[in-house]
Amino acid sequence: MKEYKLLITGTMGAGKTTAIRAISDTAPIVTDVANHDSSVDKARTTVGLDYGVLALDNGDRIRLFGTPGQARFDFLWQILAKNALGLVILVDNARPDPLADLAMFLDGFATHLETLPCVIGVGRTDTHPATTLEHYADALEARGMVFPILPVDVRQRADVISLIDTLLGQIEAGMDMDLQ
């Protein structure tokens, strides 16, 4: 039996815990506490990490880790990203500056993203359309990065599955396959 891990990161309220709950075989273990950040309309938030698991038919296990969303926990990001299969970045389009949020995670995982497969899920694009997916593509292009960008509603399991499916495509396309 082998064990692998997938990371799901994003700002507070972006839906990391919800996304893990949508696909985990077991009820996710959460480390939420009461949220005292009045700028975010959310009763509880993750300060450690969330954990779920996918038990595969060949005996392998995929561990799903939801990272804490605040930048002050970025030391955990580095630990979790080591040897990860891939990374999902969830961005909440309803936040004041979602592109800055994305930039924070791109910076935080910068060294890993040189090789780590990654996909970006953008939530609440329907209710907050001011920042479009094209803006996200612009932001990535300015950094010389190309990652899939998908609108997502993490409350919908199909959307989360679609994100993971796209991430699997990224993993399959692996950076280690140097063709140039």
Binding site: E134, I161, M177, L179
Partner: protein, 245 residues
Amino acid sequence: MSELRLGAVNLDPKDVAYVRALVRLFAHTEKLDWIYVDAAPYHAVVADARARAADPGFYERFTGVVLSLGDAPGASAADTLAYPIRANEFRDWLKLRQDSLPDARVGGAQALSPSTDTVMVAASSGASPVSALVYTSQEGRRYKLRRWPGAELLRGDPGAMRMATFLSRNALSVAQLAALTGQMEEACSRFVGVLQAAGLLVEIVAVPEQQERAPSTSRPIALDLPQLPPARVGLMASLRRHLGL
């Protein structure tokens, strides 16, 4: 030099997106003066032939140039293109009309009556931008995405998403893309053509060393393809089964 304004009348949104992307591309690569605009006045418009046939008075109300997609009664051969649009034919038409419109530039663009837009009958072909372009891949050329495509190009199509994903990670030839994604080579060729027309690809020409060791007859693709470790392939397959994919 002044710009020439090109619009679209009653085209399906996916075709509008395609025309817009081509105009933008050729403005850079061919230094053409055309720009795509969403509203009148226009120097020329692209219109679906069936919509034109349903409203013959269209010719009379609009005195600019009408590029007809498909055969339309009364349309000149020079201003008719087969549907779906082929990028090279569209480019040639833009060049032709750019050279023949100096008078129109002086006189300004023609306003197209708003009623025209509402009278014309919707005519959707069902063809997608991906299927609208025939692209001939060239030996030894590989392509890599420089930017993730917009939704109007991917259209939620899992096959297109998969192709784009692979092109975002590696520079691939059309044959390699087909072999890796499991898509038909023709579909890959069209998709690459669309991405290239939209200016989203970086083209990489294979170095001589790679060309020399490229097999020529049997197993022409497999020997030059990247391979995932078998364990990783099994993992991906297991994970996909587990998620019901």
